[in-house]
């Protein structure tokens, strides 16, 4: 019986380890090859504190959590500016370095011999020594860790993590400082791993570097993938199978020796087979559950499903004012002058077009305004304030939001989640508020959900709120992206070819929608389009660009009556 408790303890401890990696890898989409090291930091910290300082185990584990979390956060900061493949290599490097450290820093870790004699945890006079007494303690610790993870995952914070995983660039364009989120989740994942590691140390009463070799890091990855990435119960399933199964097989006569020999080979095989046949793991991710308790019951804010809020008036209701100004903006790529001394301004409350032949610099202008490119020269001003060269998420906070020509909807999230992630200043994205002000977070969520459904009603997608975004047609995805854009509640919208690749009916629908929204909310809009029907139907005036320069500004009819522009657009003989 004790043996069974022993196995369950190991399954639970591993499940904490796997859940902590699930946060990093499953939800936030970052592959970490050094996860065993964080549990090692936990184990060694707890051991050293208990042995040399004599403090109680709860204190020691808390310190271990903080130390590992800080390490994880620091680790994440430099390399998160770096792409995914490099991240993997970086974490391999960290794994190697730290393992060597554990082996050789004899002064701290006592080297290869490890640290024996860790005093068992004590609480209210009970000593947790054998599997029987340790099991309840582990169950409690695991429950706390899982509850903590649950809260994070099923929160606005968790929603942003998923959006980062789906498309980090698009997520930043919604005003989220993705770097901050990645650092935090890497730290939290590391901290939780440390809890598992320190608990293990107390159970085994011994710590050695060999427990934290790269094979273990890989083992954790196999478990998280097997159980199912981004599924909350996946870690438990993965740990139960890969820890429990080999032990259960020991009962088969003659199997014991074979199991140990082939264990590593087996893990490798499982990983390969999973990737080939079922990369989502045993338990698939379930999108849309995050707001299952809200949606369906929420009534939109108004009868016709749209709360008319003159968001555009956030800046001013002076029709003569220019809300956005570009002054002498220039950008070159090597020898190519993509944008040359472009000055333009967007009048308040109007839809302004930006048209021109292919390669004239429209997309470059877009990227310069929204922080995806750094101008060589020139300034971008919003409401008189300079926003030149700021990071994309800050541009959104200044009140400018952009759409993408290739939509960039978050495929693995539901339509409703896509819209909800776009709201600004969500209380639930702040971890302190998430844990210490749950009512405030819940209230904000409810309000945002109502607004989101209103926006979905407006674009005609309310019935598909819980549908996975990837299952929508292209036209529907574009509508969802518009709803998402509206949810940023930015007074200025930059639309990049919103009707590209759509059929005539869908184009009509989108034209009507944009018109209605812009008028009712008095937003200022910059519209890049190639389909001149859309331009004619929507804009009051447009800028005509060619070869990086603005050639003309005027009403579409004026521009199209200009023979010089016709020559540029239709070609010279």
């Amino acid at each position: 019986m004790e043996y069974i408790y022993h196995i369950i303890i190991f399954i639970l401890l591993y499940s904490i380890l796997v859940q902590s990696l699930n946060l990093i890898m499953g939800y936030a989409g970052m592959v970490s090859m050094c996860h065993a090291i964080f549990s090692g930091i936990g184990a060694y910290t707890a051991a050293l504190i208990s042995i040399h300082l004599g403090y109680n185990f709860i204190f020691a584990m808390a310190v271990a959590f903080v130390l590992a979390a800080v390490t994880g956060g620091l680790l994440a900061t430099p390399f998160l500016r770096v792409r995914d493949e490099y991240l993997i290599v970086f974490t391999i490097g960290f794994q190697m370095v730290m393992y060597e450290f554990m082996l050789t820093a004899r002064g701290i870790t006592e080297g290869q011999g490890g640290i024996p004699g860790i005093p068992p945890p004590q609480l209210f006079g009970i000593e947790f020594v054998n599997p029987l007494t340790f099991l309840p303690l582990v169950v409690v610790i695991t429950s706390i860790c899982f509850a903590f993870s649950w809260r994070i995952i099923h929160s606005p914070f968790g929603r942003v993590l998923k959006a980062i995983r789906e498309d980090e660039s698009a997520c930043r364009a919604l005003g989220k400082n993705s770097l901050k989120f990645r650092v935090i989740v890497f730290g939290l994942g590391g901290g939780l791993a440390a809890i598992a590691g320190s608990t293990l140390a107390y159970y085994v009463t011994f710590v050695s570097p060999f427990t934290f070799v790269v094979d273990v890091s890989i083992f954790i990855i196999v478990m998280v993938v097997l159980g199912g990435l981004a599924n909350f119960w996946g870690p438990l399933v993965g740990a139960a199978i890969l820890v429990g199964l080999p032990e259960a097989l020991r009962f088969i006569p003659g199997a014991a020796g074979v199991i140990d020999a082939v264990r590593e080979i087996l893990y490798g095989f499982i990983l390969m087979l999973l990737m080939l046949f079922r990369p989502q793991g045993i338990l698939p991710e379930r999108a849309g559950r995050i707001l299952a308790k809200f949606s369906g019951n929420e009534k939109p804010l108004q009868e016709d499903g749209f709360e008319i809020e003159a968001i555009g008036e956030r800046y001013s209701s002076d029709p003569k004012k220019s809300v956005v100004e570009l002054k002498d903006l220039s950008k070159s790529f090597g020898g190519l002058e993509a944008v040359k001394d472009v000055s333009l301004s967007l009048p308040y409350g109007e839809i302004t077009g930006l048209i021109g032949p292919n390669g004239c610099g429209k997309t470059t202008i877009f990227n310069l305004i929204t922080g995806y490119l750094t101008p060589d020269k020139g300034r971008v001003l919003v409401d008189g304030q300079e926003i030149t060269n700021q990071a994309p998420y800050r541009i959104v906070k200044a009140g400018l939001a952009r759409s993408w020509q290739d939509v960039r909807i978050f495929n693995g999230m539901s339509v409703l989640e896509n819209v909800m992630v776009a709201f600004q200043e969500q209380a639930g994205e702040n971890l302190a508020l998430l844990f210490f002000s749950p009512r405030r977070v819940a209230e904000k969520e409810r309000r945002n959900c109502q607004k989101a459904i209103s926006y979905l009603n407006l674009v005609g997608l309310a019935e598909k709120a819980n549908e996975l975004a990837m299952n929508l047609s292209t036209a529907e995805q574009k509508l969802a992206a518009i709803a998402r854009l509206l949810a940023t509640e930015c007074p200025v919208l930059l639309l990049d070819e919103p009707t590209s690749a759509l059929d005539v009916d869908s184009v009509e629908r989108i034209i009507k929608l944009i018109k209605r929204v812009a008028e009712q909310t008095r937003r200022t809009v910059l519209l890049v389009e190639h389909n001149l029907d859309v331009v004619r139907g929507l804009v009051r005036k447009a800028y005509f660009m060619s070869e990086g320069k603005v050639l003309a500004y005027g009403e579409p009819s004026e521009l199209m009556a200009n023979p010089k522009l016709a020559e540029v657009y239709f070609g010279i003989d």
Binding site: P357, N358, G359, S473, T474, E497, T499, S500, A501, L502, D503, V504, V507, H530, N531, L532, D533, M560, A566, Y569, F570, G571, I572, D573
Partner: protein, 232 residues
Amino acid sequence: MLLEIKDLKAGYGKKQVLHGISMSVDKGEIVALIGHNGAGKSTALKATFGLITPGEGEVIYEGMNMTDYPPGAKLDAGIYHIPQEQFLFNDLAVRDNLEMSFFTAKDQGRFESKLNGIYDMFPVLKKRLDQTAGTLSGGERRMLGIAMGLLREPKLILVDEPSSGLSPVAFQGVVQTLQEINNQGTAVLLVEQNVKVAFKISRRVYVMKSGQIILEETGQKLLERNQWWDLF
């Protein structure tokens, strides 16, 4: 009719770009396909050539239904596609590029004689036989792309925006080449942004908008108009 496209629907996975287009190209014709960016013109060429498998509709070439035929089969049948991105082997010399184009041809023995024909038509390429394709000028690259196509003696060339990235002078050279080829009997289906030139050299023009054909007219008639903004 050399090529007939009937109610073609195609796209990239979920993203359907062509919503049922019908066109035709007769032997020895130059036909232009124009329209705004994102209308689906390149997709129409790719779906015809087999780079994308059409979802619905038919591609009928020389009376045979070749809708689902892969590009290789279409090539052997006499269709050659020159994409806008110009897939040349940049690290290989001009002569190697020409050899590569001929690699899967059935009449390997005739390579040298065909090559001589190419040199006559493209003296500039003959001068730069050993130069790596990546170092050629824009116009020369387009010429190489066309030359590579001619080696396969196509009956129909699908050309995607030959003017893109070229100076007016270089484009003029390319246009002349296309007209010469056409004079020798090869039909051309041309997607082009420089509509003035397209109207001038094409017998017929199709105008596309949002994945559908909105107009079919002769190049001459379109040239006689004084504005074309409504086509975009």
